[in-house]
């Protein structure tokens, strides 16, 4: 019998599946780019949580973070990398597949 941890890893991307990171990546997948405040407002995450999740996602190469000044104010702009775009699409596809399986009538 396979270990539950390994089965989970095979089925779902653990890095993406965490609710905060899943929300961030899903928001970013629906737009071209968004800044820190937009992500904070839309996901409802605290500043510290959002910052820590973004750092993890950037280290994994899923998002690109650009720090810049807009009208003399610091602005952190975030967008998905092509790898991030692919991974979040795959993840939702996998979740939809699992949901469909769970809703299918049991085989005789």
């Amino acid at each position: 019998m396979p270990e539950p941890e390994r089965t989970f890893d095979r089925l779902l991307d653990r890095l993406i599946h965490e609710p905060g990171r899943l929300a961030i990546l899903t928001v970013l997948s629906s737009v071209k780019a968004a800044d820190f405040v937009f992500l904070q407002r839309t996901t409802g995450l605290t500043k510290g949580n959002l910052s820590s999740h973004l750092t993890k996602l950037e280290e994994a190469g899923l998002v690109a973070i650009q720090k810049r000044f807009v009208l003399k104010k610091p602005n952190t702009n975030v967008e998905l990398t092509s790898e991030g775009r692919r991974r979040i699409a795959d993840h939702w596809r996998q979740l939809d597949r699992l949901k469909a399986l769970s809703e299918a009538p049991p085989e005789e």
Partner: protein, 197 residues
């Protein structure tokens, strides 16, 4: 966690910035009153002044929303471009058609009401206040009492009605934005909030 819910939240944070509709609504009302030669609005200099004030108001509101609710760059989508083209065709075509066919309805109100309902349905989903306000605009425009648009003030009345509807929708959209994402100052330090990550 639902994908559609998260995507809808992102869309709502962008499209419910309703106070941006207020300068536009004011401009329509001023245009209608100016065309009717009402009070100070009949003077020609009022037009550039009102356009400048509305533009300045829009700019300041945009900056304020960006600071408090964040900046977002939307994806360029082919269907949005197609939608804009269709909307322009309706906004220009329906009033012309009403005039050519000599129909006793308000073409301006009808066109703007229909386009507004379609716009909200596509972007954030129709909310009760969208249906109530723009549905009322469409219904009022269809009442066959407006008379010939060439000889009556019905196009200008249409401008004023649409202006008031745009402002009312905008204020209610803004209230919904605040209820959904928190008040403008809530938890966001405007000066340093974007220095995260």
């Amino acid at each position: 966690m639902d994908r559609k819910q998260i995507e809808a939240a992102a869309a709502a944070n962008h499209y419910l910035r309703g106070l941006l509709a207020v300068p536009f609504g004011l401009l329509l009302i001023v245009s209608g009153l100016g065309n009717m030669g009402w009070g100070p609005f009949r003077d020609l200099w009022v037009v550039p002044v009102c356009v400048s004030l509305a533009g300045l108001g829009y700019l300041l509101l945009t900056l304020s929303y960006n600071d408090r609710y964040g900046r977002v760059t939307l994806k360029a989508r082919a269907h949005m471009l197609a939608g804009t083209v269709v909307a322009m065709a309706v906004l220009i075509g329906v009033p012309v058609l009403v005039q050519v066919l000599d129909l006793p309805v308000n073409g301006f109100g009808l066109a703007w009401g229909a386009v507004a309902l379609a716009y909200y349905a596509v972007t954030v989903g129709l909310r009760p206040h969208h249906v109530a306000i723009w549905g009322a605009v469409v219904a009022a425009s269809l009442v066959p009492l407006w008379g010939d648009p060439r000889t009556t003030n019905s196009p200008n009345a249409g401008l004023i009605i649409v202006g008031v509807a745009a402002m009312a929708t905008g204020i209610l959209d803004h209230r919904l934005l605040v209820r959904t994402f928190g008040p403008p100052s809530d938890g966001v330090d405007v000066e340093h909030s974007n220095a995260g990550a």
